[in-house]
């Protein structure tokens, strides 16, 4: 019944046009910055899908509101009421079901992406991340717990398994160009996987409030070729200090892998 009394075709055209414009502008911008890991393009594609869907929803709301305000404004002095329409079951079912389908689709796609970015690859490199107020340091169990303070070196195109530990409060490990983030929780070991795809310099940013030094809690990240990385690691003199090893050992109950390497030493 409404279809006869509203210019549905014109409104639909307006929605299409508006969402096309919004989506085109939004898609042309690279919101998340450089895509320097295998996960990054997948997450950005997900964002783009969501940008398109959101542009449509937003345009529907704006066009619907705009048309109502244009068409159904009361004339000055008009004290009469609107039409006593209480609802329309077909329409109500539509705006329950269509959004349900949209969000289930978004959920399914996200699930797929999540599985892909957390898929373990062969030939991984394990790196221990140690965080404390307000500094990062890194241990390389494969290289007999070689130890680096404030600078994280990793090889390019190889999947890194970060085993994260905190010595005091919760910190969070974020490298925006990799789209990876994970809390470092005292008392447990958390894990994150990432495969960097570009050689370059980045920053680890702490994103969990950890005290007055939180904003300045950064570390340098250097992604380099496998051979350059190996050379650098061999050159490391220091081993992970014993106090930090406590949290690694603690982890071995849930995660036997580093223990074997500790014993292999």
């Amino acid at each position: 019944m409404f279809s006869k009394r509203l210019p549905i075709a014109k409104m639909a055209a307006a929605v299409v046009a508006l969402s096309a414009v919004i989506a085109a502008v939004m898609l042309s911008i690279n919101w998340n910055g450089a895509e320097d890991s295998t996960a990054a393009p997948k997450i950005d594609d997900l964002l783009n899908i969501e940008i398109v869907l959101s542009s449509i929803i937003f345009s529907i709301v704006v066009v619907a509101l705009g048309y109502a305000l244009y068409k159904f404004r009361a004339k000055p002095g008009d004290e009469s009421d609107g039409e006593p329409i209480h609802g329309n079951t077909r329409l109500e079912i539509t705006w329950t079901l269509v959004p349900t389908i949209i969000v289930l689709f978004s959920g399914a796609w996200s699930w797929k992406v999540l599985n892909e970015i957390e898929e373990p690859a062969a030939h991984q490199l394990t790196v221990d991340v140690f965080s404390q107020q307000y500094a990062w340091s890194f241990g390389y169990p494969g290289k007999e717990y070689a130890y680096s303070q404030g600078v994280l070196h990793v090889p390019v195109n190889r999947q890194i398994v970060f085993k994260m530990h905190s010595q005091d409060v919760i910190h969070s490990f974020w490298v925006p160009q990799w789209r990876i983030k994970k809390d470092n929780v005292p008392g447990i070991t958390t894990t994150a996987l990432i495969t960097p795809t570009k050689i370059g310099h980045y920053q680890v940013i702490c994103t969990q409030l950890c005290g007055f030094g939180h904003a300045a809690m950064r570390a340098k990240v250097i992604v380099q070729s496998e051979s350059a990385f190996d050379k650098w690691v061999e050159g490391l003199k220091e081993k992970v200090p014993t106090p930090l090893m406590v949290s690694v050992k603690q982890d071995t109950q849930t995660n036997p892998e580093p223990l074997e390497q500790v014993e292999a030493e």
Binding site: V61, F72, R73, D81, P84, H86, G87, G107, P176
Partner: protein
């Protein structure tokens, strides 16, 4: 002389506060001395001689001001002072500073008090933005900055938005359902008086050694369990705010369930009533969780228990589970009453029945059920057991469906109506629809785990929460305040100033919070006093809009105060509404109704000739018993 100190009131309140504080202090010192410990303990997580008085002093105040008089007399078998209703109504401004059991007085007390905390919290926001206008630290130190944004958030959430909605509903809801008052007027008074206790405790934490609590409003352990004394002020303040909410929610539940006017079936309740019914169900079941979480932190701090002490077998992440089990429902506690306000405003000002009234009510119920099953979406990167992420992603995304139903139904209500935009309330309601849609969209994006991994704990979150809380909750609060201002004060506000306030607020909100999405995605974390210089220009722009947003709120304050004193007299029903509060005078009589009204139809029967929602006592005869009751089609 003696009498001044035995009568309930401010003299007795001050006396009791001092005595109770001394008692709390004394008992700690005494017990410590008996146990052979030094009398004072000044470790930063200790200070029992301060923490215990923080609990006893507010209780002493409540006792002194007179919140417990009736119950104590009854409890110890003294003759109770029968309520002669002398404490109903307010006849001068001084009456607002007394314990009063009239829901209308309590409503105003709530509204004014929480608005005061909004201004204080807003002032902190201005300081925060001033610091962030430029990279580097200029105005406050990093530690002070943490205290500022923590207290800012806590004031806004616990002593502004949540109690403001309680205040508006306190005033309007009993009138709307044709009740003479709330079900438990004395409990209602107690709920109100706990609110300033909470707010004062939060603010007083600035005086504590080590400064205000600075672990964020989320107060994650173990940062909070090891933080300086200020954190205990937060732990205890939340108890007062929490109990206040729980008591009010119980009161609303009983009032709504048992005190509706004859004829008001559930399906004839205005949506504001439905909204407060669902909110109260959330508050009653969820709030004990934050109360518990903060007690556990307090115990870890001063009793050296090990709930969250990782070295001693405590579990750090369990704090987050308990906290979010309350705090996710809390975000709906902060928006559902607003949904109710918007429904009232849009229906009246477009002269149309609410589109899909029953589905609107069911959507509220859907939201409260779902909102207990999504808490872990705040913990996607927290390192919790990972299987929970996908199920909670789906429940989170599904919450958008009932939320969407509400948006579309409001839009549907406008169609074929006669939309009046002369009221500032309606402007806020219309702007709310668009602004809140953005917040809902960013919420859905955050619900998607892979994207959330990237933007969690960044400025994108700050953007989301301000679109839903400022563009959502605060817009609905303004809509509600403008809408019922004539009813509450009996005066009209100035629409011209209202419009300036509206446009300033709308532009300020978008200008401030839209760019925050961008800098968040690009790499700026939240809760930082300093940031990479690449974000400098955006932050400067954000700060400019924020100052503008702050400044236009002063116009609102001016408008409200001046209109309350000098505004033109308001009619009983300036917006030509149907619901019962518009059928009584503005302001309503002290006892609301001389005779209880009878409800004879749905609340939004605009456009049906002769249809009425309610008839006042005495005029019943000429109205037909059967009304054209059309709800849904």
């Amino acid at each position: 002389m003696i009498a001044t100190f035995t009568r309930p009131g401010w003299y007795r309140a001050v006396l009791c506060t001092v005595l109770a504080a001394a008692f709390g202090f004394g008992i700690v010192v005494l017990l410590r001395v008996i146990s052979g410990l030094p009398a004072m303990q000044t470790e930063q997580t200790g200070y029992p001689q301060v923490v215990v008085p923080l609990i006893t002093a507010p209780l002493g105040f409540l006792l002194g001001i007179g919140c417990f008089d009736y119950w104590i007399r009854w409890g110890i078998g003294m003759p109770t002072i029968p309520d002669d209703h002398s404490s109903h109504g307010a006849y001068s401004w001084k009456d607002y500073f007394k314990v009063n059991t009239d829901h209308k007085v309590i409503g105003i007390q709530y509204i004014v008090t929480s608005f005061f905390f909004f201004l204080v919290g807003g002032l902190m926001a201005m300081l925060i933005r001033a610091e962030l206008a430029q990279p580097g630290t200029q105005i406050v130190s990093a530690a002070t900055f943490n205290g500022l944004f923590s207290t800012h958030a806590v004031l806004m959430i616990f002593v502004f938005i949540i109690p403001m909605f309680a205040g508006i509903a306190n005033y309007v809801l009993p009138l709307m359902i044709g009740a003479p008052d709330m079900a438990f007027p004395r409990l209602n008074a107690l709920s109100y008086w706990m609110l300033p206790m909470a707010g004062i405790l939060f603010l007083a934490s600035f005086l504590a050694p080590g400064g205000a609590f600075d672990a964020g409003w989320t107060g994650y352990a173990p940062l909070s369990t090891g933080a300086p004394l200020g954190q205990s002020f937060f732990n205890i303040g939340v108890q007062f705010a929490g109990f206040s909410s729980i008591f009010t929610a119980l009161n609303f539940l009983v009032t709504i369930i048992t005190m509706r006017a004859p004829g008001m079936t559930f399906w004839r309740m205005p949506l504001l009533v439905w909204a407060n019914l669902s909110t109260s169900l959330l508050v009653v079941a969820a709030t004990p969780f934050i109360s518990g979480a903060q007690f556990m932190v307090l115990f870890d701090r001063i009793l050296h228990t090990n709930f969250f002490q990782f070295g001693a077998g405590g579990d750090v992440i369990s704090y987050q589970h308990i906290f979010w089990f309350y705090s996710h429902p809390a975000v709906y506690i902060m928006i559902l009453p607003g949904f109710g306000i918007i429904s009232e405003v849009i229906s009246i000002h477009s002269r149309k029945p609410i589109f899909g009234y029953r589905l609107m009510a069911l959507a509220l119920i859907g939201i409260i059920v779902l909102s207990y099953s999504v808490w872990a979406h705040h913990m996607f990167v927290a390192g919790m057991f990972s299987w929970l992420r996908v199920p909670m992603m789906f429940t989170t995304l599904l919450i958008a469906v009932p939320t969407g139903i509400k948006i579309f139904s409001w839009l549907g209500t406008l169609y074929f109506g006669k939309i009046h935009t002369k009221s500032t309330a309606m402007l806020f309601a219309l702007a709310f629809i668009v602004t809140f849609t953005i917040g809902g969209i960013s919420g859905v994006m955050l619900g998607m785990v892979p994207f959330d991994i990237h933007v969690s704990q960044t400025y994108f979150i700050v953007a989301h929460i301000h679109f839903v809380l400022f563009g959502g909750s605060v817009f609905t609060i303004f809509a509600g305040l403008y809408h019922w201002f004539p009813k509450m004060t009996g005066r009209m506000y100035d629409e011209k100033l209202g419009r300036i306030h509206f446009w300033g607020t709308l532009i300020g909100t978008w200008g401030t919070f839209v760019p925050m999405h961008w800098i968040g995605m690009e790499g700026m974390p939240r809760r930082v006093a300093d940031y990479a210089s690449q974000f400098g220009n955006w932050n400067l722009l954000i700060s400019c809009f924020a100052f503008m947003l702050g400044a236009v709120q002063l116009i609102f304050v001016y408008n409200m105060i001046v209109s309350w004193r000098f505004g033109p007299k308001a009619e009983a029903n300036p917006w030509r509404g149907n619901s019962i509060e518009w059928l009584v005078s503005s302001p309503p009589p002290v006892f609301n109704f001389d005779e209880i009204p009878r409800v004879v139809g749905g609340p939004y029967e605009y456009g049906i000739p002769g249809a009425r929602h309610a008839i006042m006592g005495g005029e019943g005869a000429e109205v037909p018993a059967t009304q054209p009751s059309v709800v849904g089609t």
